[in-house]
């Protein structure tokens, strides 16, 4: 997957992703920010395609664009004044500091790491992924599943108890 087309695709994707990322930050309209975020997700999926990770790319779109973005949209719907200007907050400076530090760390790691370069792109199919997840990485996989289940049950429990309280209050 080398050549002019791939490079062109890479630069276009990079442009789109960067613009989307800046849009998320700069947009005062909450809904616009979410839509930029979705564009960012799609751009990331594009990177996965360029890296010959088809399955990951599709999973990225299904999970992030199809499910998580929709959940975020739900959150936006429940936010008052979502469509109007979101003004300055007092958290501006701390947030800037935090993000600056994070950026510095990431840049440092990137420049400091000795990246291994593969001669040809490895072909990992969905079947390989499944095989690996269920044999070599079965313990982390199952742990992650249990963790997600716990989170699910926990959130339901949180909602339930409050509901009962609300009923008691009435």
């Amino acid at each position: 997957m080398e050549g002019f087309g791939v490079s062109l695709a890479f630069w276009i994707l990079t442009g789109v992703t960067l613009v989307a990322a800046l849009g998320v930050l700069a947009s005062r309209n909450l809904l616009h920010a979410v839509l930029f975020l979705i564009l960012l997700f799609v751009g990331m999926a594009g990177y996965f395609v360029l890296l010959s990770a088809d399955f990951l790319a599709m999973a990225q779109v299904i999970i992030y664009v199809g499910a998580i973005a929709v959940l975020v949209l739900f959150a936006v719907l429940l936010t008052p004044r979502a469509g109007r200007n979101n003004g300055e907050t007092r958290m501006f400076l701390p947030a800037l500091l935090l993000c600056g530090t994070l950026l510095a760390i990431i840049l440092f790691v990137i420049t400091d790491t000795n990246w291994a370069v593969a001669d040809e792109s490895p072909s990992v199919t969905a079947a390989d992924l499944g095989e690996a997840l269920l044999s070599r990485w079965v313990l982390p996989f199952e742990l992650a599943s249990v963790l997600l289940t716990v989170a699910l049950v926990g959130s339901i429990m949180l909602v339930r108890s409050r509901e009962e309280e609300a009923e008691d209050a009435v």
Binding site: L78, P80, V159, R162, E163, A166
Partner: protein, 369 residues
Amino acid sequence: MSGLIKSEPFTLNIGPQHPSTHGVFRIKVKVDGERIVDAEMVMGYLHRAMEKLAEERTYTQNIPFTDRTDYLASMSNNLGYVLAVEKLAGINVPERGNAIRVIMAELQRIASHCMAVGAFTNDTGAWQTPVMWCFRERERVLDLFEMTSGARLTCNYMRIGGVAFDLPKEFEPATRRLLADLPGFIDEIEGLLVGNEIFLARTRGVGALSAETATNFSLSGPMLRGSGIAWDIRKADPYCGYEKYDFQIPIGYQGDAFDRFIVRLEEMRQSVKIVQQALDALPGGPHSTQVPLALRPPAGEAYARVEGPRGELGYYVVSDEGPSPYRFHIRPPSFINLSALKEMTVGGTVADAIVVLGSIDIVVGEIDR
């Protein structure tokens, strides 16, 4: 879930321009998500001051007004009005006139119920198909009206003392053909919708009114019968010789939208039976008695009621011996049936409100007059 997430109810105007308000009628609903927490009816967009206008016209001139109150059941409205005036003036109608009136009123009931059933299913989302099927049959009834009175919608056919014209000779065979086809058509609609899971899910338990509530709101017609009350003016207070005909009153089970729907379907079947009997025993003789054009009834008041397609359709006329009524008042069934709307919609969803509104079968011309 409500109460957990802080939500603000917001106001939604259903109408005056909305595909499901069947005219210019507006419900101001307050919704919390999809749930309706409050509903307010706003009407009067179609007000034409008919009752006041009628005080300036002669008794005969008022008949066309009655066409235009409930424009989907002009024959029934004509009938209610002329009955009131006849009662006031003490006029007797010949046998044949009464039989023709019964035929026309029952055909009108079929036409109007076709419209009600079709529009109602359209409100549940059955995309136009039942409406078109119902219109197909309604057209044939309207053809019969055109044949006799010259008009399809606003017939202006009943006269004080009888009916305007005798039946043309093509009327009887055409009506018999229609009567032969109608039961099949009703079965067809029933087959399409009544057993349909989605239709049942949408209409069962929606807008249910107990018999007590229905009586307290003084509902009438299919709304009342849907709630399980056997009440029909044709049986309880017969007019035009309805006591001679053999028919039954369909009543529902729990007073929901579905019960009103099946009651209407069954009423169409019963109407077919009545028209059949009336045609079989159609007496000869004159169709009308001679009544002076400038009728001056003795001073007094009269109230006559008929079982219109939408319920008890009453006309109240007061005379001061003048050529025009001193007071003219209509008891429009769908106006009074509509008063229970808030009772039926609050607590349901917006989609339910539309179904409930369809099941009342309102005609805005009659509500606003």
